[in-house]
Symmetry: C2
Subunit: 133 residues, 2 copies
């Protein structure tokens, strides 16, 4: 398994935990320290307590949306891995960054940020996005 | 100089290059490889060519806005540094992540993402934001 494929597997685990509303899986995935998170429309959250509290609220909500993730790209340098992807939520598309650190051989999440892509800019379908040019 | 203060200095250099419209300073600041960027409302840009082309367009624009950055927090682990901050642009507030890697002793930028904070959520004035609680 390459570094890229293993960090993509960690990224998949993040979205699986979201989909399942699995707070314990989310807690295991996030690193114990040095974490931060910026949910769409939210200000900055820093620190594990603050970040995990936000996920508990989101994962317990009945109205949690389905996320269809697309166009994942992994960038790995040593024990730092970053996955960029699009999140398609209904008619909206978000651009997301998921940052991981390999700790004791396991990719742990250290940062997540998702931001709305303006309408008419994103191309989440099969055609290549502008990043490929 | 602590790791935190040196990565905050790199963060200040990023905003100074933006303010001055200094493309060469921006090019020196960004790492040669492994870079990505998500401008507000944009999809994901990956790769130095794509990212630097976007900055050239932004820095050459006559309508570049003034950014008042606030509430910077640096998180450093080894040679990876991340600065979270708010960017106040007119009446709007954005939450920004600036990721740096220390390469040959110099903090180089590897990722930037800024996303609009929903109205009524941000508190960019002197009162503490929710991340402090």
């Amino acid at each position: 398994m390459t570094d890229e494929s293993s960090v993509l597997a960690a990224n998949a685990a993040f979205y699986a935990a979201f989909r399942a509303g699995d707070i314990e899986a989310m807690q295991r995935l996030w690193a114990e320290s040095g974490v931060s998170c910026i949910h769409p429309g939210w200000p900055v959250l820093v620190g594990r307590d603050s970040v995990m509290r936000s996920w508990q609220g989101i994962l317990r909500a009945e109205s949690r949306p389905a996320i269809d993730r697309r166009e994942e790209i992994a960038i790995v340098a040593g024990d730092e891995g970053r996955v960029l992807c699009l999140e398609v939520v209904g008619n909206a598309t978000l651009a997301a960054t998921n940052q991981f650190r390999r700790i004791d051989g396991v990719w742990r999440m250290t940062h997540h940020q998702a931001s709305l892509v303006a309408e008419g800019v994103a191309k989440p379908a099969s055609e290549p996005s502008r990043r490929l040019h």
